[in-house]
Structure formats: C-alpha cells, structure tokens
Homo-oligomer: 390 residues x 2
C-alpha cells in the first residue's frame, strides 16, 4: 500500500565543497534556514527533527549532534534525533521522518543532514570513512572504500566486459551536469581524456572515478496532507520508501557486481508504490564512485545487469536522455559531505519534480526515485517521490 | 491522544560489567537472542530493527553499526538504523520503533542497544563520553561529565540545601537494589559510610555518586495489537512517549537544578497518555550520577523541586516504598553501557509490570515510567508503559 500522508514542501542545500571558516553547526543552520524561513515556513511550525550525520565524532570531535545542531539553527527544545548509517545516514533520517508523519504523532517535521569533512587531513578523513566498513574483517586489515569499489569494478569488468572508459563516461556526465549547478563542488566539464588520466586511486578506479571529500548540509520540510497546501501549491508526495541491509563484509556476498540491499530496497519501494522502473522519469543514485552509479541503475531495474554502462554511452542517462540519472551532478561532482548526501539527494528530486531545477531541469518530471546507500552497500534506502498533482 | 497500537512482548538484557573477551557484536547478539528465540519469538517474524549505540566509532573503531550488529545477530537483510543521542540513544531507538508500528509500516520490530566500553582505557572512554557535550564550549575546554553533574549538584545544594549524605543515600539504595539483580555490575550492598568515603571525582561527587564504565546490551520486541497475543498473554502497552531537547551548553540554561528537556518530555508523555505523576506505580530514571536521580524525580513531577532527596531518605523511592525508583539498581549499580541503557531501562519496566522481576519485584505494577536522557540533558525521552490488562 502506498504511503498516504507524507509530503515534501521545501528543500534547501548549501554549497558543497571545502567551506573554509564555516563550521558544522553553521552550515547546518544555513541549510535549515533555506528549507524553513527562506521557503516561507516559520520555524515555529516544526514539531520534530530527524538529523543525519555520519561521523562527526571523528571529524569534529562531536557526538550527540542532533540537539546541538538544532539549537544552533534556532529551534531549541524540539525532539531531535541523529540517524547514522554511514553514507545512507540522510535517507535513514528521511525514513524516520516519514514514519513520524504516517504515525500521526507529528504533522510537520524537519529532515536535515550535514558533514564537515575538511576539518581534518585527507588521511584522517579516510580513516574516519573506513569506520563504515567492518573493522574486524575489512577496514581493520587495510581495505579502504576506493579499494572496495575497485573490487566491485573489477568484478563488473570481468563478468560484463565493462571498461575503464565506461566508468570515465559516468564522470564526464556528472561533471557536465554539475557545470550548471551553482551548488556543486566541481563546476567544470571534463573530457573523456581527462577522466582517463592514469592517476589511479585503487585500480581500476582513477581520480575522476571518486567522489570528493566535502563539507555541506541540506534540509527538507515534510508535512501531512492537511498542512501541505498551507506551504506550497506543489507538494511532492512520498508514496514509498524501502530499506534493506546486507552483510558488512564483501566476503559474505554472493555477487560483487550487484548490491543485494539496493535490489531489496528497490523492490520494497516499487511494491509499496505499486510502480515499476518504467514509471520513473528520473533518478538520483548513490554514485560515490562511478562504478556505483552503473551498478545502482542495474540494481534498481532501470537496465539489465551488465547494461548500465551502455545506457550511459548511449546518452539514456544524460540530462536530456530518456531516464536522466543524477541530473544535478551526483555525489561525484556535486560533492559528498556524507551525512548531508541522502538529504541533498531528496532536494534534487524535489526541485526537479516541481520544475525548479534551472538549467538542470529534466523534461519529464512527475515521478522520481532516490537511492542512497551506506558503506559497501550494507544499508540501502530507496525512496519514490511523486508530484502531488501528477 | 494515547498511542494505540504499540506493545512490548519480550525483553532481555546481558550481564552488565567488564565483559572480557566478549565483543560488541557478540553481546548484541546475546541480547537479541534473549528477546527473540529465547522468548519464543522467531527471528523471521522481525521486520525492522532500531538500534542504539552511542560512540562505537571511538570505542571500537566501528561506525555503521546497525547492519553489522543485525547481521551478527542472524537477521541479515532487514532494515536496520542506528540512533544516537548520547546516553539517550536507546530511548531514541525505542521512539523510532514506536513510530514505525504506529505508522502501520511494520507490525513487529526489534529495538536493541549495546556499548562496548572497556575495550579502551578509562581515559580514552572519558574522552569518548565527552563527545556528548559541546566540543566548542564544554568538552573542548576541559569539562567532563562528572564535572557537569558536580556543577548541578552544587546548584541543587545551594538552592535546596541538599547534602552529600543525600546523594550518598541514592547510591546506597541503588546498590541495595542491585544486590539481588544477577545482571548488575555491582551486586554488593554498601553502607552510608562507604558511600561517603572522600574519594572525590568532581566535588561534591565522590566515587559512589558515579555510574561505572560498562559493557552490555539489551533488546526488546515491539509489535502491534493484532500480533501481540500471538507472543504473550501479558503484553505491555506504550501509551505515550515524549522527547525534547535543550541547549547543549549548561551556560545557556536558566536553571542548573532542573533539566528542562526532562520536564518538557515528561509533560508531553503525561499529556499524551492522559495521566499524571500519581498514576505511576514505579519509575526508572536516568541516574548516571546520584544527583541526576534526585533531579529527575523532581523534573518528572513525582516530588516538589528540592524534595527529591527527602523522598529517598524517607524510603518513598525504595523497592518497598510508595514509588520505587530504579528498582533493579539503576545505571549507578547495574552499569551504564551507554547505547544499551535506554533499552535496558525498558526491560526493567517490562519485567516489573509483568511481575517477573524476581527479588526486585515491586508491589504495585500496573503503570511505569522510564526516563532516559543524554549528555547534560540536551536530549530527554520519557516513556509511559502500562500492562495491557491493567
């Protein structure tokens, strides 16, 4: 049964990138302002907050972030909970907010995510990110995330003949889309030659196959049907949200060319919404690495397994293609402040669906899908959004 | 309006203490087994999991704990989210689970919490715990948690004449109750003289005013009305759960003798349940320090401000008193593995309400309250539980 009562009525995102001199709490407050007062929604109307942060403990020595961030955003006193699921932290906060509204306990709630990552060295950030993998069997023995996704890329290449050029084309598309996104960390197009520069991070993944280390925050306001029309003429409904987990260890997986939690979460979402992949006008998928985008588009049923790369090459997933994927530039080029990412992805779908995506507007925009996953796919959350009047 | 559909149908807790040779994932799995298979609830019936851990990133270098722990507990694949609110992490996981059931999205869910704290030195654990306070204005300048609660104790002494003996009596009661609790970290009674030993941790708080560093895990199964009778003849309903936040900084508080988030969360819970303090037969409150128990019993309306210590002295809060508080021994003597605490508190109320608290059974046990707070009270969650047949 589709969810009945949850609507997104505003969304905002700070600039992503190296935000020098801007602290975690400051960027969080900026994003909240964008989604509330700047969108005509008084902060007094918000009843509860659901916040995604991944690892502020190691990046800014700060736990218990929910009340702290909410206070700094001028909303002291509200119930505020922090949700952590590595790179899927934002989407797990979104899911909790959806349940809060569907339960009838709250009408109008804030969903927000933030991460300050450039506060520490790149090595330290890499160590912090590694906490998203299994410390006993993976990170503790030296496997980093580029390594993990390098393994997935090799498996995909071996099974389906995917090439390094195929991966590079995902990066070229991401940078092209981000070139017209003023909030993106990288706003320059790159050529295929540049993307193919042999600066290997973890073979076969090269520099341009990897999303960057970023600072940033994003926020949404969700409300019930009854209240939605008070805030906007164009609410976006959330008819379905699916979530699944998998083993933390790659060594416990049956297949390294697909992430089983993404497949399961996608199936849950389609079933809940009564929809199929062909109903989607666009999708935002978790492209922490180029190979992750290709695999996600296969896991979500947009393309047959092994056909994701071809779809990129054929332009199907381009901004003007039949199924635009990551139309604003994705994690790859917009940036990946981990706790913010899932919430930022929702802002992209929201802006596209209501026709306010500027130069990155897609042609058809009734229904969109958002895919946010964490770690090596041990958590995956898939959300379907639909313009209320569509 | 009271919540209608949420029932606790099982609860389990591991031994708390220094659990040598038992890892975070192992103790988590033990608690889950207690609340599922050992309680006659097949793991296959569980549809989603809500998990509290405070700071495994710094204690065992492990983030993204939800899918990892769930996998190790034999439930790979289910949606699993980690909730963090410092010492209130467990209760925020419980609240998310309540909303999941009330939303109709799930029937039967797992709530679990765990923390492995003795894996690091006491100094390192203290540093990790400090992440629950504001890094900019408190922990970063040297304020530790014993220091924070020492400040609260001084304020309470100055305003109400509370004495060090008053605090010590809370410790004596906690150890007395824990002496018959086989799962407690400390199972020895102490005399008032011993509690008054001048081993100051942060004046006026002495060694026996402080809860210990502990390992441990706890778990609950929650289900809908329709499913509850399948599992037990004595479900415990959750008619209300309140949550509020406050400033992280003590310097932003109006009053150091009361925690405003506890007052607000309590008021929300009473209003939602349509009950008042006099309806409670027993309560479990967050006694991370002895002064915290005294303040909590005032904040929740059981006693007038400044009268909490007198109630302890008069035996009102003893196991055989009119309003038993922390009948199994509290954080103070049972232990305080942070992420487990809120879930463990719920297991205490559950066991007491269904009459299975053994030597620690209270006389009247229709309705109980649970108070779990985080940091210096920046998050507070108050839950009311009622035996379904009461």
């Amino acid at each position: 049964m589709p969810l009945k009562n949850t609507n997104i009525v505003s969304a905002g995102q700070t600039k992503f990138g190296k935000l020098e001199g801007i602290s975690l709490r400051e960027m969080f407050a900026d994003a909240v302002d964008l989604a509330t007062v700047d969108a005509g929604i008084p902060k007094e109307d918000i009843q509860a907050a659901f916040i995604g942060t991944f690892i502020p403990e190691m990046l800014v020595h700060q736990g218990h972030t929910a009340p702290l961030l909410l206070d700094f955003a001028g909303m002291r006193g509200l119930p505020a909970t922090r949700h952590e699921a590595a790179c899927a932290s934002g989407a797990t906060a979104l899911r909790a907010a959806v349940m809060a509204i569907e339960s009838g306990m709250y009408d109008t709630v804030l969903v927000a995510g933030a991460e300050k990552m450039t506060s520490v060295s790149t090595n330290r950030a890499t160590e912090a990110l590694a906490a998203a993998a299994d410390d006993k069997f993976e990170s503790g023995v030296g496997l980093t995330f580029p390594g993990v996704f390098g393994i997935a890329a090799v498996a995909h290449m071996r099974k389906y003949g995917t090439t390094e050029e195929d991966l590079a084309r995902v990066a070229v598309k991401a940078h092209k889309n981000a070139s017209t996104n003023p909030l993106a960390q990288f706003q320059k197009e790159i050529t295929l030659e540049k993307a193919m520069m042999p600066r290997y991070i973890a073979w076969p993944l090269k520099l341009f196959d990897c999303s960057p280390i970023s600072d940033g925050a994003a926020a949404l306001v969700l409300t019930s049907n009854e209240k939605a029309k008070k805030y906007t003429d164009t609410p976006v409904k959330i008819p379905a949200i699916g979530q699944a987990s998998a083993s933390m260890n790659l060594c416990d997986r049956h297949d390294l060319t697909s992430f089983e939690a993404s497949v399961a979460a996608g199936q849950q979402a389609y079933k809940m919404a009564g929809m199929s992949p062909s109903d989607m006008d666009l999708a935002v998928v978790h492209d922490c690495f180029t190979i992750a985008e290709i695999i996600a588009t296969e896991d979500l049923g947009f393309f047959e397994p092994g056909k994701g790369a071809k779809a990129v090459e054929d332009g199907v997933t381009a901004l003007d293609g039949d199924l635009p994927i990551n139309p604003m530039g994705g994690l790859k080029a917009v940036g990946h402040p981990v706790g913010a990412t899932g919430v930022k992805q929702a802002t992209v779908i929201y802006k596209e669906l209501i026709g306010e995506a500027g130069k990155n507007q897609v042609a058809n925009h009734d229904v969109g899908m958002m895919h946010n996953f964490g770690g090596t796919g041990a958590t995956s959350v898939v959300t379907i959004m639909r313009r209320a009047d569509a």
